[in-house]
């Protein structure tokens, strides 16, 4: 029973991070039609910025984290303005856009390698301290924190879309770009904004995952694939679906690891992607993808 509770809490905590990755991916996809294969490398580089500010420049952890989030947002703006927009303006195909994000992933990955090398670095937990005891179940503080941040950011984003003017303008852009631009919504600024928010969400996930993953340029690829799996599970077009998909993936993966095979735990996300896409491409909460005739 204790084991099951541990698995649930641990699964949800990890799942919250997958959900954050997925949320950023889905937001960017819904607004701009681009699946960002550079998402993990953007998160990785941002985490390195936090590392540089905190460990190398001696800032306190919290300002360093906020600094890294700001950096991530700028990186998102740069991606949209310097890469995606020029590519779109030149009528790049879907393949071209996907390849451009892959290219950016390589550039960021190599840059991090040049600056920080490939020695594995440790990154501190944002929430530390003695684990909490809830009814006989021992819960590490960082797990609670991850879950709270994940759910909190998702809820915050939800109310942003719901209640703020900019959020509503973004939703309009998502549902009908042409109509939105006819109504005077600056669509291209919405593109930039979704890249900035998406990248910031990824950076948060990266920084929360870094203490357990450790910090090294190539270590966050897994997070990308988990993010994809979560997004696909949730339907890739649904933001609540991304969060639910992330939590679901975290749980499933933990139980598969405990009861089926630990080896399968790492492969599970990939299998899930292939199976979900094959059986129910629209995911758990997404709408069916309609084909044009």
């Amino acid at each position: 029973m204790r084991l099951v509770a541990d698995l649930i809490v641990g699964g949800l905590a990890a799942g919250a991070l997958y959900g954050l990755m997925a949320l950023g991916l889905v937001l960017i996809y819904k607004t701009t039609d681009v699946v960002n294969f550079g998402h993990a490398d953007m998160a990785m580089l941002s985490t390195f910025i936090a590392y540089a500010l905190h460990v190398q420049a001696g800032w306190a952890l919290v300002p360093a984290v906020f600094g890294a989030v700001a950096f991530a947002a700028l990186l998102g703006v740069l991606m949209e303005r310097a890469v995606m927009k020029p590519a779109r303006d030149r009528k790049a195909t879907v393949l071209g856009l996907v390849v451009a994000t892959l290219g950016m992933a390589l550039i960021l990955n190599g840059t991090a390698g040049i600056i920080w090398g490939h020695d594995v670095k440790s990154f501190p937990y944002v929430a530390s301290g003695a684990p909490l005891q809830v009814g006989g179940v021992v819960i590490p503080r960082d797990q609670i924190f991850n879950l709270a941040v994940g759910v909190g950011l998702a809820a915050g984003l939800h109310s942003f879309f719901r209640f703020s003017n900019v959020g509503v303008a973004m939703r309009a852009t998502i549902s009908n770009r042409t109509a939105a631009s006819l109504m005077g919504i600056p669509v291209s600024r919405m593109f930039v904004l979704s890249w900035a928010i998406g990248a910031a969400l990824g950076a948060v996930a990266g920084m929360l995952a870094a203490p357990t993953l450790f910090l090294e340029p190539n270590r966050m690829v897994d997070l990308l694939i988990k993010g994809f799996a979560a997004a696909v599970l949730g339907g890739f077009t649904s933001m609540p679906g991304a969060v639910v998909g992330g939590l679901g993936l975290g749980l499933l993966e933990n139980f598969v690891g405990a009861y089926v095979s630990l080896d399968l735990k790492d492969t599970f996300a990939f299998l899930l992607i292939v199976v979900v896409l094959a059986v129910r491409p629209e995911g758990l909460l997404g709408r069916p993808v309609r084909k044009r005739v």
Binding site: V98, V99, L106, G110, I114, F228, I273
Partner: protein, 324 residues
């Protein structure tokens, strides 16, 4: 005419290179030609049929391990393991093609990415069969008692395989089968109305493409003499994708040129890996933005300089239509 001359010149250079180029560079060129086989196959799938694959190294890995295991555990000679690797990988490609049918664009990219990563994970974890991260050491290719061990012999063997695979791909894409590939890519509706079954066509493209990857994998296993799961990871899939994007989508010679140039660059820059990663990323981004047709097409005018060629400008077309 100019094409013939170019082909003859390329053939002569390829044949004479071993006399001039030192052993190590010959080995690098051999590697380049192996990846060229895989790149040609990937271009049939992605360039011609329009199906993205960001997990193609997975197919290459399946081919490499199939050939290595057949040689090591069953004792088959190379001339049997090579086609066996091709066919088994083609079957895998066909199977992956079935779920891929319902997906397009970015979804297919994600699914194939998942597939590629899953293959290298399975190769890593299935230790009893694959030796895990220790990898396998397949023997050099041999024919009867004659073993091809030297760099030169391996170079010629690979060049021969690449030449025949390239020729076959060129024939294929110009045949009605190739027309069906492009038709499905350009307009699925019009293709269907013409009697083309998009599902069958796409799975066929997956199978053909995987066949090429399987052959490349088998060549790789026996040329290098060592395979491990990390030889077929995501980075290699991205590398293959880069080769066809930079060389030229839907261009067979472009795939070969792209793969050879990128492999040589890859080896030359192996001392500065991170810089290499940045350079390759930059090349990809710049290609997508500035020369979306790839280098082969960008240099077409230069190559066709001597050829008489009717340039079709929209104005000519308009005039024609007004006259009719």
């Amino acid at each position: 005419m100019r094409d013939r001359v170019l082909q003859a010149a390329v053939a002569a250079v390829v044949a004479l290179l071993p006399a001039i180029v030192p052993g190590y560079y010959l080995y690098v060129l051999t590697l380049g030609m192996i990846w060229a086989v895989a790149a040609v196959g990937l271009n049939v799938l992605t360039g011609f049929t329009g199906q993205i694959s960001i997990g193609h190294a997975g197919f290459v890995g399946i081919g490499a391990y199939t050939s290595a295991l057949l040689a090591l555990k069953v004792g088959w000679p190379f001339w049997m393991t090579l086609p066996a690797a091709g066919f088994l990988t083609a079957a895998t490609g066909w199977l992956l093609g079935v779920p891929a049918l319902r997906l397009s664009g970015p979804y297919l990219a994600i699914a194939t990415l998942g597939f590629g990563t899953a293959v290298s994970q399975v190769l890593l974890k299935w230790e009893r069969l694959t030796g895990g991260y220790m990898g396998l050491k397949p023997p050099r290719p041999s024919l009867g008692s004659w073993t091809l061990a030297g760099d030169t012999a391996l170079y010629y063997l690979t060049a021969g395989v690449l030449a025949s695979m390239t020729l076959a791909a060129t024939n294929l894409v110009r045949s009605p089968v190739g027309r069906a590939f492009v038709a499905v890519r350009d307009s699925e509706a019009a293709a269907q109305a013409s009697g083309i079954d998009p599902a069958r066509t796409k799975t066929l493209a997956f199978a053909v493409s995987a066949f090429y990857a399987g052959i490349a994998g088998a060549l790789y296993a026996h040329m290098v003499g060592y395979v491990s799961p990390s030889d077929f990871n995501l980075l290699i899939s991205i590398f293959l994708m880069s080769a066809i994007v930079i060389g030229g989508l839907a261009s067979i010679p472009g795939s070969v040129a792209g793969a050879v140039v990128l492999t040589v660059g890859f080896q030359l820059l192996s001392g500065v890996r991170d810089l290499r990663t940045v350079v390759y990323g930059l090349a990809l981004v710049l290609t997508v933005i500035f020369i979306p047709g790839g280098l082969w097409r960008a240099t077409a005018r230069w190559r066709a300089a001597g050829r008489q060629r009717i340039m079709v400008r929209p104005s000519v077309v308009e005039k024609d239509h007004a006259a009719s």
